[in-house]
């Protein structure tokens, strides 16, 4: 009975498109991170997360998040916005990593850009997850026109 709830795909809707594009973006960024060998400045810029695991691991996390976002665009049928949770969490955590290393680890000032950019991306996902996702967006207009 529980397995049946997980079986099948959701119809393609507004959020599906956003999640697919975001998933691809995160995957590509993850590949870039995984292929990067961090310089000293880069290490300082992301020290709070690089103390936990190397940059390649975080690249893998971004790739995994991207793949999860891609999956969440159509599955499971009963939950349509869990992909945003992953993307928002990771984006804001990444912004916090840039921000906290600026405060606690005396990272370069260029980290401000990272804080603003990833913070805004996180806020964007936070806002977009609250948008309505009608089955057929045209239905409302069609109904109003009669």
């Amino acid at each position: 009975m529980i397995l049946r709830a997980f079986w099948g795909l959701r119809p393609w809707k507004r959020h599906s498109r956003i999640l697919v594009v975001s998933g691809v973006m995160f995957t590509l960024y993850g590949i870039r991170l995984a292929a990067e060998s961090p310089s000293r400045t880069r290490y300082l810029a992301l020290e709070p997360v690089l103390r936990v695991a190397p940059l390649q691991f975080w690249g893998g996390v971004f790739i995994f998040a991207g793949v999860l976002a891609l999956i969440s665009s159509r599955w499971p049928p009963f939950a349509e916005s869990w992909g945003y949770m992953v993307l928002t969490g990771l984006s804001l955590a990444w912004a916090a990593a840039y921000g906290t290393s600026l405060i606690f680890v005396s990272a370069p000032r260029s980290n401000v850009t990272g804080v603003i950019m990833w913070g805004m991306i996180g806020y964007l996902f936070l806002s977009v997850s609250g948008l309505r996702n009608p089955d057929l967006p045209g239905v409302v207009e069609r109904a109003r026109r009669g």
Binding site: M85, A96, N133, G146
Partner: protein
């Protein structure tokens, strides 16, 4: 030991989790609104369809009523003609009756004079 870098790691983790929680809350609220909107739109579309059916039925009925009206007008026209003919006939009969009465009265007065 919770030095600056470790604290930063903890903050990163907390911010990430808070972001996930916030996103979940907002998405859940949107999902409820979405369900309500879908239900309202479905009800609206159903009502519009029902109205369309009613209007279609009324239009068909109107065509029938107009056809009936035309037939009844035609019947009324025929009846008016018939009534006019009958009125003329009655008038002729009345006139004939009056004439016959006059003739009878004259005949009776002639006999009395004799």
């Amino acid at each position: 030991m919770l030095d600056g870098a470790n604290l930063a790691t903890v903050i990163v983790a907390i911010v990430g989790l808070l972001g996930m929680w916030g996103s979940h809350k907002i998405a859940a609220r949107a999902s409820i609104k979405n369900s309500r909107t879908t239900a309202e739109v479905e009800a609206y579309v159903r009502a519009v369809d029902m109205d369309k059916d009613t209007i279609k039925g009324l239009k068909e009925r109107l065509v029938e009523v107009l056809a009936e009206n035309k037939e009844l007008r035609e019947e009324r026209r025929v009846w008016r003609i018939e009534r006019a003919q009958k009125d003329a006939k009655i008038e002729a009969l009345v006139r004939q009756n009056l004439l016959q009465r006059d003739q009878l009265r004259e005949k009776n007065s002639g006999q009395e004079n004799l």
